[in-house]
Symmetry: C2
Subunit: 151 residues, 2 copies
């Protein structure tokens, strides 16, 4: 497959595919003249990348999870970490959704006078919802097995 074929099948622009290759996310199997040639399994790889992006992994995180190997063999612990992270996000989002929905129908003269809305505000302000706890649990869980590369 040439790059436009991959582009068509994956829905990603060629520029993104080149960018991904440069980042080490995908690899072309060779060249025909100047042109990259991709094997079919790049599509599976791109699907994995899309999966990662869908759960808000950075490209760098994805590079790490997907080794350079064909078969990724993703760390199962990492998967659980990410599932936990998603759980926390789901909880926040659920709280937010309920709060927003209530605020929308609340008959308080202004949102500011609605106690539920104010409670939500308090939550947001306290950072409980700020979604900046991206990798805290990951770090925590990860640190239990300690540094595998140092003495």
């Amino acid at each position: 497959m040439d790059i436009s074929e991959v582009s068509k099948r994956s829905g990603l622009p060629a520029s993104t595919l080149r960018f991904y290759e440069e980042k080490g996310l995908i690899r072309s199997v060779g060249r025909q003249g100047l042109r990259r040639v991709f094997s079919g399994n790049v599509l599976e790889r791109l699907a994995l990348i899309a999966l990662g992006r869908a759960v808000d992994f950075s490209l760098d995180e994805i590079v790490q999870m997907l080794g350079s190997e064909g078969t990724p063999s993703i760390d199962r612990e990492l998967l659980l970490d990410k599932a936990d992270e998603l759980d926390r996000r789901i909880q926040k989002f659920t709280a937010m959704r309920d709060g927003l929905r209530h605020a929308a129908v609340c008959d308080a003269p202004s949102h500011m006078e609605c106690p539920k809305f104010r409670r939500l505000l308090g939550l947001a302000a306290s950072g409980a919802l700020s979604s900046d706890d991206r990798m805290k649990a990951t770090q925590k869980r990860r640190s239990k097995k300690a540094a595998p590369l140092s003495p």
Copy 2:
């Protein structure tokens, strides 16, 4: 209150507060010499901003929702839109979480051989989870009331 007081109470660095002021998100009530003076309700305002950020609004969106007025009076329809959006995100995230969790315990030799994981991959690849539908429903619902500013 001076800026460091607001900073302490809000948890935001002074640079961010200045940045927010420049963006029109908050306002200082005046100056003492060079220094900004903020009124107490800037904290409420910052809480609203945090709330918005917590549900992934951009600062520009937030500026629009919070008029320049003291009492925001947020568009209730907009709140419902955002609640809907959150619903969709929650569904995606739930699907992802379940998928990840299964993949973590799945006894298939490689994730690639696990049908559930592959199904998840399909979902991600098809863009069903790609979270790029940020404002589609908003646009849709919004377009029902049509352009209020054009003839």
